[in-house]
């Protein structure tokens, strides 16, 4: 059983979902981020957030995967200030919703003044609704940006145990762990971290507060990065217990602090009523059969 606590499944295909389920992924977290190009209207954000708490949640459920999300204004789009203001007004409508496990991914991109402003405002929002925070650390000037993210979150009174710092590498990990934050690693072949390097990090730092994710999105990335890394760890002699921590349990402990993510959600799904038992595979066209266990009714879909 694996959890991928950072994956943008909205950009992925049903083949990916099927492969993920087959590889043992039971739950995922889809953080709100940008879409590869900037949005120009607040309505686009609203529809995107709706999709995270509605349609994508439903789509994942069709493949037996429990979908959670984080809600936030990402650092890139924070730079469009007029729009950012409108998005900030929208956030309170979403952060309290069921299955929203954190405010995120927020933080710095170019480390501008506007980014700083909205990062801080969102840290306050997270505190107000008692949610963990998922921090996106910058690609450029990474080490400084990472340290700054952590310092600012301390300044706003957040407990490091409520903050996951994502996209770490060999250069940032020590600073993050020493300060008591969760350190997440994105296995994203070309730009972030590779599986082999990940094995070495777990060997060196142990499994405490370390989290592995794929951040698979619209770019060249791998939705099976978590199970593949787990396998490589196993082959290279990392203990089962440590693999379980970094590929499942730590993410659950960190984001479970939201009260919105519970192992029972996938281990013992709540008893479903008549209607829900029949609720169907509308991803499937008429006549197609679902390949997963569970819901077996055949449904049609309109596109």
């Amino acid at each position: 059983m694996y959890i991928d606590p950072h994956i943008h499944v909205s950009s992925r295909t049903t083949d990916d979902y099927e492969a993920m389920r087959k590889a043992g992924i039971v739950a995922i977290i889809e953080p709100a981020f940008w879409l590869g190009q900037p949005r120009t209207k607040v309505g686009s954000f609203q529809d995107y957030f709706n999709s995270l708490v509605g349609w994508e949640r439903f789509r994942a459920s069709q493949f037996g995967i429990k979908h959670y999300c984080t809600i936030g204004l990402n650092s890139k789009e924070a730079n469009s200030e007029a729009l950012a203001e409108e998005v900030m007004d929208l956030l309170p409508l979403y952060v309290g919703k069921e299955g929203v496990v954190a405010v995120g991914e927020i933080g710095y991109d170019d480390q501008t003044k506007a980014e700083d402003k909205y990062y801080r405002l969102q840290l306050e929002l997270a505190k107000e609704v008692n949610l963990p925070v998922m921090i996106h650390t910058p690609h450029r000037d990474k080490k400084r940006g990472t340290i700054k993210s952590m310092e600012v979150s301390r300044e706003h009174g957040l407990d490091p145990s409520m903050v996951v710092v994502d996209h770490n590498n060999e250069e940032t990990v020590k600073e993050v762990l020493d300060r008591g934050f969760w350190a997440a690693f994105t296995i994203y072949p070309h730009t972030k971290m590779g599986s082999e390097r990940m094995v070495e990090i777990v060997r060196k730092y142990g499994a405490e507060r370390i989290i592995v994710d794929s951040a698979a999105d619209w770019g060249i990335s791998d939705p099976l990065a978590v199970p593949k890394t787990a396998k490589l760890m196993k082959d290279q002699g990392i203990s089962e217990e440590d693999i379980h921590l970094v590929c499942y349990q730590n993410a659950l402990t960190a984001y479970g602090q939201s009260g919105q993510m519970n192992e029972n959600d996938w281990l013992n799904p709540e008893p479903v009523d008549q209607r829900k038992k029949l609720s169907g595979n509308t991803i499937l066209r008429g006549g197609q059969h679902p390949k997963i266990e569970g819901d077996t009714s055949i449904k049609g879909v309109e596109n």
Partner: protein, 299 residues
């Protein structure tokens, strides 16, 4: 039209249902929210109450007593909250509190809520349609909801809900029914469906059945319920074909014959005395067919 239901009666009804089922902590939370909303109604706190409800209220099924069902029906004809869970009931309780004195404001607020709703929130909101003020102003929203591909949301509007039969125009009604057939929903749970049959719908459904047959696919047996009043219009040959089909189809075809005044239909039914007897005794009806088909889909 402004009211479908007396809102203080609706509040009292839901309150009693909730009080008898919710735990102490949940009730405490409800009371606190209610006081805040009644003393000083703020949209932002209303939206937060509505969205954070699952943190305090469980999704237990309501399992109504017979007496509660009767009270629901008395409150509003066709109102069937026995199919809801407790969380949905609590959300509806708050929805009824949304100020509904002035149409423009009410529609603006509820539209905002609809537009930002997650899956379960949408289910609760569409399920609450028979209780909301300004029902005719909600037709456009309902039609938008029917465009969903999410079965639970579709079901919340279509099944066990008297709103569509009461308020949708014929085009919207026909599209809804056709989509329910397409999505293989249990048609017997569509409220007052027999009263809304029309020749246009029968034509659409028969065309759909022909498409399914052309693709060698099964046709939902319950479909023939809505063809039965129009067997004179050249659909009798279809019924003859249905009667030759699988057991459930055969039963459906013969039930359609039973509903028809057409002499040939009666003659066909007479060829199957045992089925005719089951129909006469009430052992076989559209509900039994619908339920049996649901069981079949689940296997």
């Amino acid at each position: 039209m402004k009211y479908q239901v007396n809102s203080s009666e609706a509040t009292a009804f839901l309150r009693k249902i909730i009080e008898e089922r919710v735990d102490e902590k949940g009730l405490e939370w409800i009371n606190l929210q209610e006081t805040t909303l009644r003393d000083n109604f703020q949209l932002r706190s209303f939206y937060l109450t509505f969205s954070t409800a699952p943190r305090f209220i469980k999704k237990n099924s309501l399992s109504f007593t017979k007496e509660e069902r009767i009270r629901a029906e008395k409150l509003r004809r066709g109102f069937q909250p026995q199919h809801w869970d407790l969380l949905q009931c609590v959300r509806t309780y708050f929805l009824v509190m949304l100020p509904g004195d002035e149409e423009e404001n009410f529609i603006k607020n509820i539209t905002r809520l609809f537009e930002t709703a997650d899956l379960d929130e949408q289910v609760a909101m569409y399920g609450a349609l028979p209780l909301l003020t300004f029902p005719t102003a909600l037709i456009t929203r309902t039609r938008e909801g029917l465009r969903t591909n999410i079965t639970d949301v579709f079901d919340a509007i279509v099944l066990d809900n008297p709103y569509p039969a009461d308020f949708l125009g014929q085009d919207a009604w026909n599209q809804m029914l056709l989509k329910a057939v397409f999505m293989q929903r249990p048609l017997y749970r569509i409220y007052n469906a027999d009263e809304r049959v029309n020749p246009e719908l029968a034509k659409m459904l028969v065309d759909f059945a022909h498409e399914r047959w052309a693709a060698s696919r099964d046709v939902l047996p319950e479909l023939w319920r809505f063809i039965a009043p129009y067997l004179e219009d050249g659909y009798f040959s279809d019924i003859k074909k249905v009667v030759k089909g699988k057991p459930l189809e055969k039963q459906a075809g013969l039930l359609a014959c039973n509903m028809s005044a057409k002499p040939e239909a009666q003659q066909l039914l007479n060829k199957y005395p045992e089925v005719k007897e089951d129909i006469g005794s009430g052992r076989l009806n559209w509900e039994t067919i619908g339920k049996e088909n649901e069981t079949k889909q689940k296997v």
